[in-house]
Symmetry: C2
Subunit: 406 residues, 2 copies
């Protein structure tokens, strides 16, 4: 029997370990897999042959259930992009050599756009070189929710639940003083505003919080922003604003760009931080009321105590489906969610075409953003609501959540 | 029967509503109180006669149980300091006039140092003017844990539990990449490092996270800090650092002070933010590795999904004890916690002397901080551990925590 190898890549999320758990479940339960190995630190771990035997370390259902609700990425991660196999085939040859050496017939890679690019290149390489003994499959992951060909992405629902809850808490906190105040909350999202839009789920409580929402899909205008805030302050004392970290002006520059570090990661993404602080300064200068900014930062993607049950269940299923499909002989696809209906919420797990997913970013459709560009429409809320439903019971030990530590 | 009035002041916390609930419980259950009123926005609400009838809006145990686990301050808050009654008696006369007009015999005020100053001044004024028909009592509240004459403060335990958990999550998140990285987490605390020290509770998991802890009680030296980080990076790839927002250099200036806004609130406190960002820049410049900063910000004091059961129970008891004591004729005291033993954890609720509490900040004792000033000692961990024990079951509705909204 061939062995199965799983690895993960890109930024951590609260659900990526659930997807890995699904892969392990499927590998063990299929009865058609020798060992389930995990490569540490993504494709780098494959190249370095840095493997761990997962059917041994996760041999009981109890351990796997704990792994499934442990945030971040138990197997570690990397930001390593494979080159063009036409120009530099060595890396690909090396991967195939290592997989064959370890008798690996199935390789499942979990991640976002960049990771799906890796899976896509590898599967094309296999096809073009008639490598038939290794099946390569992708399983989606990204809190950014920006993968194409899937209704939504594992990790997004839990991040959205955290963000929605954080906005209700921030509202509780900000509403206590009866003096005019503006609180600007910066939410993750370079090019897609899904996470920022999730702030509107706080309105489930009945209050319109946040009152203003700016997604990175629409051009941001500082003057209009100040007008919006002034208008809002005429109606209410305490204004809460959600803004994507990646909001840009009409000419395509990040808002307050000159105040940012401008460092880039290996994929050419700019490290962003600071639009909240920048707008805080702007409100202070132009309006002069009490103002503060909050950056949700990495807490929004690693909050293991605020898991969406829907998200965790689907994430585990998506991992299992990718593995089962590989074991059944499929290759070069990504497991994905197809939504059948919003209410009652129904989905099915399908296989999607990697060529349409790699390096493509799915943004919030313009028709789900209001014309003024300072709020979202109800259609978007209808899309979001089912994704945060259900809670996961978290075990605590000595006062803090219990985790799976590899 | 006389009426009872309760109000709250100062920054919100996750447990202040539990204390208010305790006051309402006691007022209703005593059978010796007419109505339980709440003043909106603290002492300002008293001066404006802005009252709500709490035995009506919180008439069932269900509503009170929900109020007790709703974060922030349901009655609103204010930052309003009473003047010196010797110089300006008008404000005091007005308060007494309003209390008498509404037939209020018991006034319970919940808050931190500044609020206890208000209670103290008011009780001294009553004593000096032979006002015997109004009993004034304080109930402690502050996530900062810096009130004297009480073992610890309501709200601190829940904030500490949030901080400890956040550090375990940040560790999960930061440990996924195998490249050297430094993550600096800025924790609330102007002059007392209790909340920053609570980061060490993350070690309950078994990993030494954070590896470095800097409290505002010890002078901070930038060169020694960079040395510490370099040393830590020799041993491990991913370094997590906890730092109090209020760390100061040996000459008493806030670290990176010139980069801060320097705005002051009405009590003369400087609005602090940015030591994390400042140190991020410093590490980038002097060490040059991957570095980021995280500001826990207001999430650490308003996280209603991360409540310490111990904290919420004690907070409610402290409110009830303050109210019961007033009803029994006591005045000019604050309810407080006296610790009997650490393990098993045992406490009793007592009354403390306000004169020793008003405007005094209890800091972390120097003997609980290590000599190098970059970590805490085990004695402090022993003190902290019991305060985060136990979880509170939070009801959810449509995917987000259900709250009491007045």
């Amino acid at each position: 029997m061939k062995n199965l190898l799983v690895a993960q890549s890109g930024g951590p999320s609260a659900a990526i370990n659930a997807t890995i758990t699904g892969v392990i479940d499927a590998g063990i339960e299929s009865g058609r897999v020798g060992h389930v190995y995990g490569a540490l630190n993504g494709i780098k771990g494959v190249l370095n042959e840095n493997f761990v035997n997962l059917d041994e370390v996760c041999d009981t259902k109890e351990k796997r259930d704990l792994l499934a609700i442990t945030p971040a990425a138990a197997l570690g991660s990397c930001r390593w992009k494979l080159g063009n196999p036409k120009e530099n085939a060595e890396e690909f040859e090396e991967i195939i050599r290592i997989l064959r050496k370890n008798d690996i017939g199935y390789f499942i890679y979990t991640g976002g756009n960049d990771s799906m690019d890796t899976v896509y290149k590898l599967s094309v390489y296999c096809e073009e070189h008639n490598i038939d003994d290794i099946k390569v499959m992708g399983a989606p992951k990204t809190i950014d929710n920006d993968l194409g060909e899937t209704d939504h992405c594992p990790g997004f629902g839990s991040a959205a639940k955290f963000i929605a809850t954080a906005f209700t808490e921030i509202a509780c906190d900000c509403f206590v003083y009866d003096v005019p105040s503006v609180t600007i909350v910066e939410v993750m999202g370079r090019n897609a505003g899904w996470l920022t839009a999730a702030s509107a789920l706080a309105r489930i409580e009945g209050r319109k919080v946040p009152q203003l929402i700016y997604l990175c899909e629409k051009a941001f205008d500082e003057d209009r922003f100040i007008e919006d805030v002034n208008e809002a302050l005429k109606k209410e004392n305490n204004i809460i604003i959600a803004v994507s970290e990646g909001v840009k002006t009409a000419d395509g520059n990040y808002v307050g760009e000159e105040t940012k570090s401008g460092k880039e990661d290996v994929f050419g993404h700019k490290y962003l931080s600071g639009v909240g602080k920048y707008l805080e300064g702007l409100v202070g200068e132009k309006i002069g009321c009490k103002v503060r900014s909050v950056e949700l930062n990495i807490l929004q993607r690693c909050a293991g105590y605020m898991l969406s049950e829907t998200d965790i269940m689907e994430s585990r299923n998506l991992g299992a489906f990718a593995a089962v499909s590989a074991i059944r002989g499929k290759s070069g696809k990504m497991s994905a969610v197809r939504r059948i209906s919003d209410d009652p919420y129904q989905v099915e797990i399908v296989l999607s075409d990697l060529s349409k997913i790699a390096n493509y970013e799915k943004k919030v459709p313009m028709e789900w953003i209001n014309e003024e560009g300072n709020d979202i429409k109800d259609e978007l809320l209808t899309y979001l609501k089912p994704l945060i439903q259900g809670e996961v019971q978290i075990p605590y030990e000595n006062g803090i959540p219990k985790r799976f530590i590899l």
